[in-house]
Subunit: 191 residues, 3 copies
């Protein structure tokens, strides 16, 4: 599987729990550890678990700091439509680019569990060489969204690590060749 | 069903038909009444049926006025790609937030009837405590899109009515527990 | 099929290959001819095949010039997440409107072949009376995306050619009537 080939065991990741009540200690954070556990299972190394309140500026700063230290930043919480749900806004504000297809994928998989997943406003973006992923605040919703995005994350992280402009094309083609049962003989050298 | 539990019979809704020819009386509005009928069946109360021409400013004002009186505002028409189709632009201009997942859901369901649903530019957003939904101009396309969005609307309206920042998470978790057949005993108190 | 009815054999199209290495002659362009071949099969006439480097300004100018000569402009390449992938940015910058549903459709079909299609950032938009479509850079990914979008292109091109604000509604309704096996007797006259 392409996903396996490109996986870097130990890729550093940071989980940010966005929750007013967790931040003030009124509630125990269940989703953050659930996300971290799923990441470890998938071969990532969680180097940090951060909790912040639902404040745009604070979330932005937490994402920026996390993206400077880790390759994958997963936020959990604040993606809904309540007044204080501002995680997507903070993420859009700091990311270089958005990957709309990953957000679509998370919602499409989420809808298989509950139609309410359609209300999720979580986004996925890139910031430097890091991928930032917003997953819902419920432990199960968070893990479902993460699992939906996981198959594309290793490849995305490789490209962001400095592959040339054509590596995506080449590797996607190679992946397709593999799917078709062909040996990957025609792979173009990366510049 | 979660949808049933959260449904408020009689939730006030307003339907706005966006159509130059209907507005000038050259064509009878069929879609507006079709949408109103589907809303009534779903437990909403249509307190107004408005017709406006395809003018951005006029549509914006109609949405603002409707959102001040009703919890759900459904526009029908003006979501296509013809030059005068400007309903999505007007809706984006007045809404506080967009719910991309609901638009995706409407198009995904619409594509099951006709591939042309992919051309629909309708959006869904929130304005104060109201949800604004753009559905297509054809009666059948309008009802298909509305039925696709209906399962998430009661929950969205509850959250907008003043639930705290964690109610979504809690209720989604509760809904999932229900799906799994568990009693909702672990529900976290809302702050 | 509606698609057949509305198809204009010979609709002029231009294919733009976006690739630094193809532009400097270091690599042979395979995707451009593959896209052109698929377009010919679908009844379009490819009146131009252009190659440009991954430079935003150059891509924008190539799209503008192509949209002035052809009804359909397909770009291939530059839709990924590598630093020099800027085709979607250039396309957004020049288009009048975006058709998010067509991008969703391309990614949804692409994901049936490889999950990596979720990383595609390609968009679809309108520019004057032309449709601009971003497909991936790999030959197979490009053709898959094009085939996904093809069913809606003839209808989109008709509308952009000067139909009135209600033609979409009417034709969609007519298409639905056809699907239901009814004769199209109730079709409303266009203003």
């Amino acid at each position: 599987m392409t996903q396996e080939l490109h996986r870097r065991p130990g890729t550093p990741s940071i989980v940010i729990t966005v929750s007013d009540s967790c931040a003030r200690g009124a509630r125990q954070d269940v989703s953050g550890p659930a996300v971290a556990g799923a990441l470890e299972t998938a071969g990532f190394e969680t180097i940090g678990l951060v909790t912040v309140p639902d404040e745009t500026g604070t979330i932005e700063e937490a994402i920026r700091q996390a993206a400077a230290r880790a390759r994958l930043v997963v936020t959990t919480g604040g993606t809904g439509i309540a007044a204080r749900d501002v995680t997507p806004e903070a993420t859009r504000a700091v990311c270089d680019r958005l990957l709309e297809g990953v957000a679509e994928l998370m919602r499409a998989e989420g809808r298989k569990e509950t139609p309410l997943a359609a209300l999720g406003r979580g986004v996925c973006g890139t910031l430097g060489t890091a991928v930032v992923l917003n997953v819902p605040g419920s432990p199960r919703g968070a893990v479902t969204a993460l699992l939906a995005a996981l198959p594309v994350l290793p490849h995305a992280l490789e490209l962001l690590a400095g592959r040339t402009e054509h590596s995506r094309t080449d590797e996607a083609t190679a992946a397709l060749h593999e799917l078709e049962g062909h040996a990957d003989k025609g792979k173009v050298e990366r510049a």
